[in-house]
Symmetry: C2
Subunit: 311 residues, 2 copies
Amino acid sequence: MDLDAVRTFVAAADAGQFQEAAAELAITQQAASKRIAALERNLGVRLFTRTPRGAELSIDGQAFLPHARELLRVAERALMSVRTGSRPLRVDVIASRGAATGLMRDFHRAHPEIELDVLMLFDIETALAAIRSGTIDASFRAVTAPGRPLPEDIQSVRVLDEPLELLTGPAHALAGARSVPIAQLAGHRIWMPGIVPGTEWASYYDDLIAEFGLTIEATGPNFGSDALLDTIADTPALATFMGARTRLVWPATHGLRRIPVTTPTPVYPHSLLWHRANPHPALPILRTHLTTTSPGHRTTGTWVPAWAAPR
Amino acid sequence: MDLDAVRTFVAAADAGQFQEAAAELAITQQAASKRIAALERNLGVRLFTRTPRGAELSIDGQAFLPHARELLRVAERALMSVRTGSRPLRVDVIASRGAATGLMRDFHRAHPEIELDVLMLFDIETALAAIRSGTIDASFRAVTAPGRPLPEDIQSVRVLDEPLELLTGPAHALAGARSVPIAQLAGHRIWMPGIVPGTEWASYYDDLIAEFGLTIEATGPNFGSDALLDTIADTPALATFMGARTRLVWPATHGLRRIPVTTPTPVYPHSLLWHRANPHPALPILRTHLTTTSPGHRTTGTWVPAWAAPR
DNA sequence: CCCAGTCACAACCAACGGTTGTATCCATAG
DNA sequence: CTATGGATACAACCGTTGGTTGTGACTGGG
């Protein structure tokens, strides 16, 4: 199906005749006729009933018309998504099911008129480079990686501290606990596959291990969250960490348990990063939305890595 | 923008390389490379970063990808809308803002998984022919036109009696009335432009005029409901009829009044018509939905044309 | 150090899609 | 009844697009 033909179809449907549609599109009447004939041949139905005074939609044409308009609308938006200047706000989130995605969903609900593109970059270095080059407009990240202060031209605001919970199967030793002190996790096998060295997550868990003497197995390739959850559900000796706000798309029947961790509760600090000179009109709206809906952060009873602690 | 190029882009993004994408689409690697190069040229951005081991999405490519998928999805649905066999349920309504449209909206809310195409045919004759030929699946109409009994192979069920209300501007003599007996309308000018002779509406109003001695001016071309409402709002001597369920998209500030008509209340009887042998799986669901949510019809205090009265 | 595997460029060719010119149809006016 | 105007479709022509084949450049692994 050719988008030019669809455009011609919509123009002809609106005009009621091919000639005027052809004039609008700056082609000859014959070309418009050929385009629509080709479209009809591809679809296998007649879209217009031709009369000596114009062309009016057949019933199939009437049914097709709204779909054709939608198609052009979507094509237009697809084009806009890569047009510099007045393109959708591009926001990088740290994981597709994480808290930042939920925050963006909330933002979209609050401001459905703002066009959004949400993507996931590899690590904070990539994100910073993209923010500085203007390729993306904002990023949800832990505010700094260890030893690397934020550049001068990047601004940030802390928007959410997400508590980590323990995720176990029904047969796990801690499955019945309503909460578990972090000291009790020493000696339990905690499995976190797919943590890529060099990313903020790796730094975060390195610090967590060092601080509380945990044994985290980060080995093994990441076969996707489905495989991870499957293994956790079936293996009594394994557990994993998961952000409290992470949404699980998983049959509840598997009996996975989410157990809060306490004394202290490790939290992952999400900040929004952006370039101080970014002119995108939707960016201040996002910032305002996040700061006004942020629940704030407790500092007592929680733990964050030293490099992420508020100065 | 070429849909084939978009398809190639999505395939390459999924495969992570051009060669495999090209194999899926049954073209050569060079052709896929050219298609994506052309797409990048059209969009003005680089979608992939080429490596000697494949091609991975650039940031622009990541932003474009969901739009590309959506575009292909919409194109697929546009194609289905004219494919015989498993195409969306095609329902004809009598007016774009009338009660039947509202009923279909309710149905769509109740069954969002059912694909619908709603269209407006010229009159009941066209609708019957389209139902018999299978071009449409159902039609909302007054069950018969005068003197023309329903064919044997068409079935019908009465789903809604829609009361007619008087619509006036704020300066009209009846503007303050909470309701008006139909006998009081004799002598008032009632304006109904755009009623096409030969349609059910024309028959309906002919009967209404004959029964209650009204003077309805059906003259003048239809300049659209905006122009009609504009004139009604500004002309104290004019009023018009409007279905009680008709949704008005009109600034409330113009002070239009909707006044129920009584003793009796003229109602327009909407029936659903369909072919007894139509195999569309969604058709019985629509019928069940309509009959179970139908408010039923009062017969006392209401008026319908003799040809539409239940036998 | 070579090889396997990837993408890009060049040359060639068929097919698509545009234009111009023309025939046909029908409603309307004279 | 006929001429005319306005609409679509068909035919011929032709440039450009988009496919294939052949080849070169690049890079990571054995």
